[in-house]
Symmetry: C2
Subunit: 163 residues, 2 copies
Amino acid sequence: MPVKKKKGPPYPVETVGLDVLEDTLSFYIRSINIALSRDLDDRLEGLDVARGTGKITTLLLVDSHPGIRPSVIAQLIMRDRSAMGRLVDQMIDHDLITRRNAPDDGRAQELHITEKGADLARKVRKIATKQSSDFFAGVPEKDQKRLLDILRRVYRRTAGLDQ
Amino acid sequence: MPVKKKKGPPYPVETVGLDVLEDTLSFYIRSINIALSRDLDDRLEGLDVARGTGKITTLLLVDSHPGIRPSVIAQLIMRDRSAMGRLVDQMIDHDLITRRNAPDDGRAQELHITEKGADLARKVRKIATKQSSDFFAGVPEKDQKRLLDILRRVYRRTAGLDQ
DNA sequence: TACTTTTAGTGGACAAACGCAACTATTCTG
DNA sequence: CAGAATAGTTGCGTTTGTCCACTAAAAGTA
């Protein structure tokens, strides 16, 4: 006599094959991106820099490259200049960076970090590296390096930074 | 006598160091995700499935798992049920899938592919795999596999599919 | 010098997407 | 049967980002 069949969905989540996506960059990148963003938002709770869509990169770049220009950052984070402008506005409101006109180029601006921004940058650095290693838990050191190398190469190429 | 200094920005894009982000998963994932999404949108031009935010995964999953439930897909693409519902609505409008009530569970639904959906799925499979290999251009076969393995592991863990 | 083109930044309008919370209906647990 | 959990729907609000037009300045050209 057959065991009573349990109801449940025809394809339980754990066992669903992902079709070709199983071997595809885009799917994992997209999904992991979602997970990573949410996780990061949690970790940044209340830190003036939540919703880390570019704010974090901007903060760290301004901190480590005093006088860097908005348009340069825009290119690195792959946003257009208007989006970047708004991002800068926000961060100025939060007193994290300052904006001044470039002395040698009337079109351009220079961004500088504030006290508060620098403090935050220190915290964010810790958080970002911690998150990275948490997500890599269980992945051998050597593979981590290898993975980052590959991602770096792909990134530089697609951002148009190479050649 | 010094060479005439060229003007240009203080930190040209190509040379800007990314601070700790240089060694951080989140930055690359986020950026590559942007690049990948835009590129994919281009390749899907006019294909009824543009803005591939989950549509692609849904399409392929429904195609390869007839009767799969919305909530299962939602979990795989990390969205909440309401977002998933709207996604399904759209795809039904585009005549890519159909929705019917599950015979054995009054709460649930079953999704099925349409003719048109199946056609599209075939095309999308080609496009997705092509894109993946394009982005991997220059990365040795072996490293590609390795990378996908790691991403898969990270994904499965963060999606709560393992253990 | 006068022109044209390119680059940097701003502002507005618009749209798409997502999450949350509340609600219904069904099923499961005990 | 009562209460908890699950599937799906709907409305609401927010965020985010893209497109486009516009100004100002600099670079290229002749």
